[in-house]
Symmetry: C2
Amino acid sequence: MKNSSQSNVTENKHLLLVPTRGYNYDKIDKVNQINLASAPLKFRAVSPAAERLRHILGDDDSTPTPTIFTEMDTLQHEGGELEWKESARWVKFEEKVEEGGERWSKPHVSTLTLHSLFELRTCLQTGSILLDLEGYSLPQIVDDIVDRQIADGLIPADLKEKISFVLLRKHRHQTKKPIHRSLADIGKSSAAASNPAQSRSMNDISDTPSSDQLKNKFMKKIPRDAEASNVLIGEVDFLDKPFVSFVRLAQATTLGGLTEVPVPTRFLFILLGPHGKTKSYNEIGRAIATLMVDDLFSDVAYKARDREDLIAGVDEFLDEVIVLPPGEWDPKIRIEPPKKVPSAEMRKSVLNLNELGQMNGSAGGAGGGEDEEMIGGGLWLDIKRKLPWYCSDIYDGFHIQSISAVLFIYLGCITNAITFGGLLGDATDNYQGVMESFLGTALAGTVFCLFGGQPLIILSSTGPILIFEKLLYEFSKNNDIDYMELRLWIGLHSCLQCFLLVVSDASYIIKYMTRFTEEGFSSLISFIFISDAIKKMVGAFKYYPINRGFKPDYITAYKCECIAPDQGESSVLCMFNLTDLDWSQLSKKECVKYGGTLVGNSCKYVPDLALMSFILFFGTYSMTVSLKKFKFSRYFPTKLRKLISDFSIFMSIMAFVGLDMLMGLDTPKLIVPTEFKPTRANRGWIVMPFGKNPWWWYLASFVPALLVTILIFMDQQISAVIVNRKENKLKKGCGYHLDLFWVGVLMAVCSFMGLPWYVAATVISIAHIDSLKMESESSAPGEQPQFLGVREQRLTGILVFVLTGLSIFLAPILQFIPMPVLYGVFLYMGVASLSGIQFWERIKLYLMPAKHQPDFSFLRHVPLRRVHLFTLVQIICLAVLWILKSTFLAIIFPVMILGLMVVRKLLDVMFSQHDLAWLDDILPDKDKKKKEDDKKKMKEKKTPEPESDEEVRGNETPGLETVFLVVVYLIVCQSICCVAPDTNTVCFSSLSHSVAEKALYNTYYSLCPPALQSLSC
Amino acid sequence: MKNSSQSNVTENKHLLLVPTRGYNYDKIDKVNQINLASAPLKFRAVSPAAERLRHILGDDDSTPTPTIFTEMDTLQHEGGELEWKESARWVKFEEKVEEGGERWSKPHVSTLTLHSLFELRTCLQTGSILLDLEGYSLPQIVDDIVDRQIADGLIPADLKEKISFVLLRKHRHQTKKPIHRSLADIGKSSAAASNPAQSRSMNDISDTPSSDQLKNKFMKKIPRDAEASNVLIGEVDFLDKPFVSFVRLAQATTLGGLTEVPVPTRFLFILLGPHGKTKSYNEIGRAIATLMVDDLFSDVAYKARDREDLIAGVDEFLDEVIVLPPGEWDPKIRIEPPKKVPSAEMRKSVLNLNELGQMNGSAGGAGGGEDEEMIGGGLWLDIKRKLPWYCSDIYDGFHIQSISAVLFIYLGCITNAITFGGLLGDATDNYQGVMESFLGTALAGTVFCLFGGQPLIILSSTGPILIFEKLLYEFSKNNDIDYMELRLWIGLHSCLQCFLLVVSDASYIIKYMTRFTEEGFSSLISFIFISDAIKKMVGAFKYYPINRGFKPDYITAYKCECIAPDQGESSVLCMFNLTDLDWSQLSKKECVKYGGTLVGNSCKYVPDLALMSFILFFGTYSMTVSLKKFKFSRYFPTKLRKLISDFSIFMSIMAFVGLDMLMGLDTPKLIVPTEFKPTRANRGWIVMPFGKNPWWWYLASFVPALLVTILIFMDQQISAVIVNRKENKLKKGCGYHLDLFWVGVLMAVCSFMGLPWYVAATVISIAHIDSLKMESESSAPGEQPQFLGVREQRLTGILVFVLTGLSIFLAPILQFIPMPVLYGVFLYMGVASLSGIQFWERIKLYLMPAKHQPDFSFLRHVPLRRVHLFTLVQIICLAVLWILKSTFLAIIFPVMILGLMVVRKLLDVMFSQHDLAWLDDILPDKDKKKKEDDKKKMKEKKTPEPESDEEVRGNETPGLETVFLVVVYLIVCQSICCVAPDTNTVCFSSLSHSVAEKALYNTYYSLCPPALQSLSC
C-alpha cells in the first residue's frame, strides 16, 4: 500500500510551477500538424477539447447555470497570526484590493499571462479534483479534501493537521464603505489606528451569514441566483510541493464567513505551496478566478464529469484568448471594461458550428419583416396593437424621470403656444390668439396622448400651418368671406381627407422615408428651431436698443421729454381736454397716444435689457448643456448625476429665473392669459358651420383643404417615423394610421371651436423621447449601462397638456419666467435634436483629418469620398429646402419632403446598394413588392379567401370601395372649386395681393380642367 | 538524390496550419514541470530559449539595430489579374487598410490570436530560412528562395515557374492622401470611377524608388535609419501545402515598388498556401509583422544565427504576451495605443537578469543627488552652470510658440503693471504711479531675463510689497520723513541683505520646500488671482450701477440735472464767476466740481456697461478655456490645433476686443501713459540718497529692510522652486543664488530711480512655462506625443519686457483693449495654474465616489482616508493663510511660508514616511546631513584642503567670514534702529495709526534689546 502511494507521488513529482519564465513550446506543434493536403477544404477536424465540450454543453440546455461570483483570498501573516485576506473579486470583471490603498480598484479586464494559464492547466491535471462533493460545513469539506489528497498519495498523512489548520483560519474581507463614512473616518483615524475598513469573521465558528456579510452593499451588484466560487491561495512552510484542489459541491452551501457576501459557495479552488513563489501563485489564482467567471468555462465547470472535461474547458478558453504583444502594451495598465462583450451564446454556437464565425457585415439594411408588419394593417390593426399596452401606458409613467420630462416638455409647449399664439393673433386680427393657442394645445394634446397610436409624439402648431392661416385670413378679409366659417369647412374637408388616407393605408409611404429623408427633415426643423431662437435673441437687441455712444459723465445731457403738440393742428384731439394735461408727467406710450412728441437723446434707447436678455439666453443654454454632460463626469454617485442630468433644463431655468429676479430688471416675461375667454371679443367658442358664406364655399374649401391635408400628413408621418426610429428601441409598436385618424378628428374639433390646428412637432417630440430614455442599471461592477429603450407611456404627455390647460391658473408663477430663458431652452432643444443625427456626424468628418475620425462602422466599409459625397448631397438638399422655406413656398414645405424622397430614389443611381446600405437604408424593392402583390392577386383570383385575415389585408392595396369614395369626393369638390373663383376673386389681380397669394391661387386654379378655367374672370 | 528529397518531403509533410480551432495543450506541461522541491529558492532555471537569446543579444551591444517598418501585402485577383495589395503596415502599431473604406484605419495595438502565434512558430520551424542572403533585385531573390525550397525538397521543381510568377506580380499600395485632395475628389469621382487612392508600381521592372514612393508623405513618420520587412501572404491554386520562407538579406536593398515608401528591404516573409484559409494566413502574416516590429524580436531577427534562434525569439515573445479573457473583451475592438509602453531596454535587462522584474515602488522620493548638486554651490557655480547655455538661451527662442508666449505674458505683465501702478499711485500719492510701474517692470524684467539664473521667471510687483509701500508712505507722511529717501535706504539695506543671503548659500532652505509647501503657496497665489479678477468684475457692477427699477415706458421720467448751488453759501466759489455758467450744460464731473447738485433719478446709474463688462470678462475666460481644450478635439490637423491652442489667449482677446468695438460702448479701457515723465510732477528720475532725512535713518532703515528681504527671499525662492519643479523637465539647471543676486541688485537700482520693487510672480511665471511647453512630434503613427520639456530661453522674457517698455508708444493700439477682457485673462491664469496641482486633484477626490476616482498611483498605495486627511491638512493651512492674508498680517505673508514648512515637518509625526513619499516628498534627513557635515568637517580639520574644489564648497556651511559679516551688520544696524523710534515716533500712539501699523511698529520694536527700548517714549 505504502509502496504504491510512493510510486504515485513519484509519478506526480513533476507536479507544477515552472520556476522561471520561458516555456519550451516545441511539443505543441507536433500535435497539431495536420497537412492541409490531406484535409479537403470542407473537412473540419475537431479538436478533442471542442468535442468534449460540445458533448457536455450540448447535453442539457434546459438548466441555465447560475452566475458565479468569485472571491480570491490569500494567506497572510497578520501580527504573528495566519489569516485569509481577500485580495480580489470578480463578478464579471476583476476588482483588486489595492496593496497600500486598502480599497477596491476600479473594475477592469483581467490581464493574465500565458504562463499562469499553462500553470493552471498543470494544476488541474495533477491536483485533486472533487466533483459533486457533499458538503455542509467548511471543516467537513476541508477534511474531505485533505483525505482525498492523502488517499491519492499527493501528501503524506501527517500533514493533514497542519493543512486543515491553515485552511480553517479566519477570513478577513475588504468591505466597501460609502463615501460619507470614510469622510467621517478622517477625523478619528490616526496613523496607528486599527483599520476599520476591514471586517473579520470566523468562518470556522458560524455557519450562518454574519451581519457584516448581510450588511454588505455589494450584494446588490450580484445577481440573485449567483453562487460563489472561492479561490484560496497561500504559501506555507511545511509543504515542499504545491497542494492543489478543485472542489465542486453537490449543493451550493453557505460556508460562514468564507465569502464577503452571503452567497452560497459552489466551487473551491485551493492552492497551497512552499514559500518563494507568491507572485506566481497569485497569478494562478487570478487565472482560475477569471476562468470561473467566464461564461463558457463556468458552464463547463458546472457540467464537467471528470478532470478531462475541466482541462478541455481550459483549452477552449486558451483557444479564444486575445493576445497583446508585449512591446505594444504595458501590462500595468488596467483595461477599462469594454462597452460590449461578445455574448456567451455566440461563443457557444461558434463552438457547436466549429467555425470562427466570419460574419459578413449585413450592414443594417432596411427594417425587414417585422417593420413591414407594423406599418401595414391599417387602423384596425393599430388599435389591436396598442390596446393591450393601454394599462402599462399609464403605470409605466410612474417614475421620477417623468417629472423632469413633464416639466421640460411643458415649458417647451407653453413657450411654443405663446409664440405661435402671438403670431397667429397678429396674422388673424386675434381671431385666434394666445388663449386659443393654449386651449387648443391642451385639448388636442390631451386627446392625442390619450388615444393616439404613438403617445410619445407631442402635437403643436407648426410654421407651415401658421403661414396658411395668414394667407387664408387675408384672402377672407379681402373678399368679404367669413374667415371662421371658411376655416371650419376647410378643417372638415381636411378631416375627411385624413380619414380617406387612413382607410387607403396611405401611411405605407413611410416605407420610402429612409434615413436620408428623416435626417433632411429633422435637421431642417432643428435649424429652424435654432435660427428662431437666435432671431428672437437678436430681436431683443432691436426691441431694446442700446445707447452706444453713452458717456457716463454726460448723464446730465440725456433726457427724453414729452412735448405737447401744437394747439393748432391737434384740433381733433380737443375732446380729450388735452389742455389740462401735464405733458411732462406722461409716460412714453401715453405721450404717443395723445399725440405728443418725444424729444430727447435717450428716447429711443432702453438700457441693460438687451444685454441682460443675452446673458439669460446664453446662460440657460450653456448651463443646460453643461449639466447634461455632468452625467459623464466623475463627481458624485451615479444616481445623483443622473438626476442632475435629467433635471438639467429645470435647474437651468430655475437658476436663471433666480438671477433675473436678483437683478430685478424689467426683462420680457412669459405672460399667459389669465381669463378664460376668446381673445377677440366678437367671437364665441363654437363656430357655426352655416349662414355666413355662400353655400358653394362649403365645397370649394376642398382645394385649400387638400393642401392642408398634404401638409399635415407629411409633417405628422415623418415626425412619427423619426420618433419610431429603430435606434429608440420602442417596444410597444407604432400606430401611423391611428395617429392620422386622431389628427383628422382633432382637425375637425379645432375647426368647430375656432382653435388652431395641430400636428406632430418634430423637435419637441425628440426632446420628449430624449428625456425618457432608460439605461440599464449596471449590474456587474464595470459593466457599461446599456440603452434599454424609452419609457413608453401616455402619462407624461397627458400631464404636459393638462398642465398647459391649467396654465391660466399658473400665471402668477409663470410670470416670473423671462422669455430669453425660454429661448435658451429652445436653442438647446434644437441643438440637442441635431446631436443624435448621423448626418451631423458625417458633416463633422469634413473637418477631421482621416486619422482622427471616429471608428464609425460605415467608415470601415465605404470609402471616405463616397461618404463625403453622400453628405454633400444631403447638405445641398438641406440648403435648397432652407432657401425654399425662406420664400413664399414655405407653405408647400411638407410637400418638399416628397422631393427629398425623390432625390433619395435618384441616389440609387449614384451610389451602389452596398454603400447605401451603410450610409442609409435600402429602399423597399418596388418591383419585388409588385411581383408579390401580383402573386397574391393571382392567388386571390384563384382561391378567393375570406378577408378575415388582417395580415393579408394589411399589405393589400386600397380596396375598390375606397378608390370609389375618393374619386367621387374628388370630382364633386373640384368641379365646384373651379367655378368658385369666378364670383369671388373677380379681378383678383387688381387687388394688392402678395406674390405668395397669387401663387397659391394659381396652384389651386391650375387643378381645374381647362373648360372650367375659362369661366373665371 | 530524388529519393532523399522525397523522404524530406514526407518528413515535412505535417507542415503547418491546423485547419480548426482547438489545440491539444497536453504536451506543453510535460516539458515544463519542474518540481519546486528539487529547485531551491535561489536557483532559477533558465529556459533554453532565454539562454539562446541572452547569448545572441548579449554578444554585441555596439551596433543598435535599425527600426523596422513592416508592410503586409496580400495576393488579390483584380480584374482577372493577380496583384499584391497592401493590407496593413506597422511602424510601431498596426494600421490596417479598411476593407471597403479604402483607407487606413487608426493605428492600434495588434490583437493576435494564440493560434496564429503557434502557427507562425510552426511555419518558422518547417519553412525555409535564408539568413544573410545576398540580394540585389527581387527576381534574383525570388529565384534564390524558390531554389532553396526545391533543394530542401519542400516543393517539386516544376512549380518554380508558377511561384516565381506569383511572387513577381505588381504591388499596389494604399497611399495616404491629404484631406483637401480627397475633398476635391468628391466632385470628380463617381461610383464606377477607378480608384485614384491607390498607386500601382511594377516591382519587377524598376529598381529605383518610384515617384509615388518618394512623394509618400508617410515617409516622415518612419525613422531615417529604418529598414523594411515585407510580409507577402497569398492563396494560390497550384499548391497543395503551404510555401513558407523567411529571408534576411545581407544588405538592406531597395527592391523597386515592393514597399510603399522608399525604405530598403531587409526581411522578407512569404507565405503562399492552397485556397480556403485566407483568414488563417492573414493572421499568421499579422503575427510575423507584429513580431518584426517588436523591439526584442527584431533584435533577434537581425542577430539570429539559425532557425533555432528565431524560434527562441518567438518563444520569448510568447512568454511575455498579455492575455485577455475572451468573455471580457471583444476582439473586434481596436485598442488605442497606450500613452507609454515598456521600453525594450527594460525587457532586455529582464531577460538578462531572468527575473520578472518585481519593481518595488520607489515612490518618487526626494529630489536626490542631482538636485542637491544643483542647489548647492553658491553664486559662482550658478554662473558656471548657466554660462554655457547662454547662446542657446537666445537661439532656442526662435520658434512660433514664442510669439504666442510673448503676447500672452506681455498682456499679463502690462495688466499687472497697470493694476499695481494704479494701486501704488493711490497708496503713495503718485510718488510711484503707472509710469513708474511700467518703467520698473521693463527695466527689472529685462535685466533679470538677460542675466538671471532662471530666465523663465517673470518679475512683477506683488501684493505684500504693495502693502509694505502703503504703510511706509503713511509712516513717512505722518512723521515728516522724506519717503523716497527712506525707501532708497531700505532698498539698499535689503540689497545688501540679499547679497548676504547669496553669500551664505541661504537658498539651501528650498530643500525643505516640498510639494506640500509649493502647493500651498501656489494655490494661495492662484486663489488670489482668481478672487482679484472676480472682485474687479464685481467692482464694475458697483462702478456702473444698474438701474434695476427702470421701466422702459417711463423713460420720460428719467433725468439727471445739474442744479446751481445756492448763491448764499457758495461765496467761496465766486471767483469762478459762476453766475455766468449755464448749469444745465455741465457734465456730471464739472457739476460736482463747481459745487452744483445733481438731481434726478438717473444720476447714479450707468446703463449697459456693467453687463457688457461681464460679458467681455466671462466671454474671454470661457473662450480661452475652450480654445485651449481644442487641442484635444478631433477637428483639423494636429498642427493647426496646436497653433489655435497656443494662441488661444490672443485669439480670445482679439475676439472680445472686436466685440467691444462692435458694440461701441464706453467700457473701461486699458490706458497706458503716453509721456515719459514721472507720475508726480515734483520728483525726478533719480532719488538722492542724502540730505532730506536725519543721518541715523540711513541705518535704522535696516529693520524694515529685514522684513522686505524676508518677503523677497521667500517669494522669489518658492516661485523659483515651483518653476524648477521636476515635472517641468528643465534641462538647463536652476540658479537660485544668481536669481537672488540680481533681485538684490535690481532692488538697489529701483530704489535709486524711485521705481517699485520686483520679485518673481508665481502665477505669471507658471503661465510663461505653460505657454512654452514642448511635446514630441509623434513619430510612429499612434504613438502618443510625450512632454519633452520647456523651451528654456531668455528671448521671450526679454521681448516681453522690452515690449512693456515700448508700451508707451503702443498706447494707440492698447487703448482698444477693455479692462474686463484683461480680467478675464487674469481669471484664466489663476484657474490654469491651479489645474496642474496634485492638491487640487486630491480635493476633487472628496467629491468622487471611490469607483470613479482616477487611477492615481498614490491611490493604489495610500489608503483613501489618509489621502483625504492629508488634503484636509492642506485645506486648513490654506484657509488659515487666506484669513491671515485678508488681515493686516498680509505683510508678513511670505514669512507664513516658513509656517507651512513647519507644518510639513509636523506631518512627519502624523503620517508614515511611506505615505508621505507618495503624497509629498521626503524631507532631507537633517541628522544624516549633519552627520555628513560633521564627517566632512572632521576630514577638513584633519587635512585642510585648498578650496579650489567648488563641489565641496557648495555643500559647505557658510564660511566664517560670512558669519562675521552678518554679525557685524546686524549689531550695528539694530542698535541704531532701537534708538531711532525715540526721536521720530515720539508719541506715535497718539497719532491715528491703523492697527496694522501699530503691529508693524511693535514687531520692529520688539527686536530691540530691552535696554534700548527703555530709551523710547
